[in-house]
């Protein structure tokens, strides 16, 4: 479970996150939905302790990110916005490197890598160097890297970015499987279909704060729209009018 309370972060004069609060529950897929520059990536980066919030609290499975950042990172599987594979290493080597850094032994790492290569249907990538990977292959490898230590919580920044239909479907299955195992999945996205197809809960974020949250149903009702996209536009529009920046 991921709990965020009153999170603030600024870069110079730019206020990126302004008092964001939300909870992502176990066994649910929570979607962080917002326009570009709404503060999604910054919020996630604070979650996996890459950045320190100016103010506010983050708890992952009850652990305070400010007090025990390493404990928090151990409980998180992270697919950052920057996939960043090592091009001169094969997919297997990329995955096993992170497995070892997560504390797995060489044998455990190899065994877990076998599992993931099968689950993500990427055995053909095993011995290929990441140099010439397609976008989809890169996301798969990065995802395997993020899941290598059976994290209770999975944080994904725009996981479907740049994926084709087939790859997107595969990704959805993986995320649903994670939910089925009772894990907490938190993903940021700006693709409405992803949210509609996957998310149990939606957090709409605009100008650094959560402006609406609930199930897709609740969001539609709140905005009195039948279509999720219309509801989103309405809520974002209202938020922008309220607080011109």
């Amino acid at each position: 479970m991921i709990e965020v309370h009153d999170l603030w972060k600024s870069f110079g004069k730019t206020q990126a996150v302004r008092g964001a609060s939300f909870v992502a529950q176990d066994g649910q897929i929570t979607g962080l939905l917002g326009p570009n520059g709404a503060g999604k990536t910054t919020t996630l980066r604070m979650l996996y302790t890459l950045m320190r919030p100016d103010r506010g609290q983050i708890r992952v499975d009850g652990l305070d990110a400010a007090l025990d950042p390493i404990g928090v990172r151990r409980r998180l599987g992270v697919l950052p916005d920057a996939r960043g594979l090592y091009k001169r290493l094969t997919a297997r080597e990329n995955i096993e490197y992170f497995a070892r850094l997560q504390g797995l032994t060489q044998e455990q790492a190899a065994k877990r890598c076998d599992e993931l290569l099968g689950a993500l249907q990427m055995q053909d990538l095993e011995r290929r160097r990441a140099e010439g990977f397609s976008q989809g292959e890169r996301v798969k490898t990065a995802l395997a890297r993020a899941l290598v230590h059976h994290p209770r919580n999975v944080v994904l920044d725009e996981p479907a970015n740049g994926l084709d239909v087939m790859a997107t479907r595969g990704l959805r299955e993986v995320l649903r499987a994670l939910r089925g195992e009772g894990r907490c999945v938190l993903m940021s996205t700006h693709i409405m279909q992803e949210v509609a197809a996957l998310c149990d809960r939606i957090l709409i974020i605009a100008q650094g704060r959560v402006v609406a949250q609930g199930s897709p149903e609740e969001i539609r009702n709140q905005a009195q729209e039948h279509n999720l996209e219309e509801a989103f536009m309405k809520i974002i529009g209202a938020a922008v009018v309220q607080e011109p920046s």
Partner: protein
């Protein structure tokens, strides 16, 4: 520590697969510098030999007034050249290196037994003619004293009377020490080899990792950034050390081709030198590795880091130049200055002198302390958000 070893293993594995890294660290660095050094040696030695044996061309004005003097000088290797119209101007414009002018009254003075004047015209601001000036002056002085002695003998006086003192110059520099004057640059070349060896890995594992955006996922692992930094530093040091060892072996081989025998010099660059210098260099290699990572961590891209580190290659040149320009007696405090201390130690070893173990210990301690300090500074940089974020 375990995590640092995992990072170390991965950095080494990745670098071994990079042709650029291999070429620079294990081929270009270790081979280029000994080659460069060898060429330099041959040029310097060649020039000195040439100058010592070559006839000395001198424009002689008024040779007809002192044919005996000119003959004597010619026997010693002077090559008289035809007079020029305005000798002062010719020397000033560097058309002529050296002019010997013999006045019209020379013959008269000589016959009367008065000191007869000859003039040497030269431009002392020209470094390259200093050797020629000295040679001509020595020839003339020798002629003068020989004739002085003859005159005394003709009058029945022992020439020994006018030489109450006799100065015997005994150069006690060992052949190695004479060689070491030329080898003053060798420590720099060796350190340069270590610098080149680690440079690519230092850049690739910091600025390169940021550029390829793999730093952010790496930092999401439950590993302290100190561990990550330590692993990268050790990987850089290993490549640096490998390059240095190969470079030393290359120098060992190049030693056979060095023209030291021509000058009667000995150079102690045998296996004992290599085995002594390696432990001396280990702390320095660690310092170099962390310093390169520190500098490269400031850069946003591979290219930017490359520019910084190429400039940084000139830093070890400073102690070399100081040691060559201001020759100092090796003292214990010098050992405490990283880079400087190791260069002094190397020079002493090259001269065939023994090295104080205390100096080596002090050098190692201070160099490691400097490395630890830079490690802390770099760690602070690693912990800042600026370094972690790629875009």
């Amino acid at each position: 520590m375990n995590a640092a070893l995992i990072v170390l293993g991965k950095e080494c594995r990745e670098s071994v697969r990079d042709r650029r890294v291999l070429l620079n660290a294990l081929v270009l660095g270790p081979l280029l510098t000994p080659l460069l050094f060898l060429i330099l040696m041959h040029m310097i030695v060649g020039r000195e030999l040439e100058q010592a044996e070559k006839p000395l061309p001198v424009v002689v004005i008024g040779a007809e007034h002192a044919p005996n003097l000119v003959d004597a000088l010619r026997q010693q290797g002077m090559e008289p050249r035809a007079p020029v119209a305005d000798p002062e101007e010719a020397v000033r414009q560097q058309r002529v290196d050296l002019v010997l002018r013999i006045g019209a009254q020379f013959a008269d003075d000589w016959r009367q037994g008065r000191p007869a004047q000859v003039e040497m015209l030269f431009d002392s601001s020209r470094q390259e003619v200093h050797g020629q000036i000295d040679r001509l002056q020595r020839m003339i002085e020798a002629y003068s004293s020989r004739n002085g002695s003859l005159r005394l003998l003709a009058r029945g006086i022992s020439p020994a009377l006018v030489s109450p003192l006799v100065l015997a110059r005994r150069d006690l520099a060992s052949p190695q020490a004479r060689g070491a004057v030329l080898l003053g640059m060798l420590p720099y070349f060796l350190i340069l080899t270590a610098l080149i060896g680690g440079m690519w890995l230092a850049i690739d594992s910091t600025a390169g990792e940021r550029e390829r955006q793999s730093f952010e996922p790496l930092l999401a692992n439950p590993v302290g950034r100190g561990q990550i930094l330590l692993g990268k530093m050790l990987a850089t040091a290993i490549f640096s050390m490998a390059s240095l060892i190969l470079g030393l072996l290359a120098f060992l081989a190049a030693g056979h081709f060095m023209p030291t025998d021509d000058l009667g010099m000995g150079i102690a660059i045998g296996l004992p030198f290599v085995l002594t210098i390696l432990p001396v260099m280990v702390p320095l290699v660690l310092l170099i590795a962390i310093a390169q990572i520190w500098v490269a961590s400031y850069a946003k891209s591979f290219r930017e880091a490359q520019t910084y580190l190429s400039l940084a290659q000139l830093v070890p040149l400073v102690p070399s130049i100081i040691l060559m320009a201001v020759p100092m007696r090796p003292q214990l405090w010098m050992a405490a200055i990283p880079l400087f201390g190791q260069q002094v130690t190397m020079l002493r070893l090259l001269r065939g002198e023994s090295v104080n173990p205390l100096a080596i210990g002090i050098g190692a301690a201070f160099t490691l302390a400097a490395a630890a300090l830079i490690f802390q500074v770099t760690l602070r940089l690693f912990q800042s958000e600026r370094v972690a974020i790629s875009v």
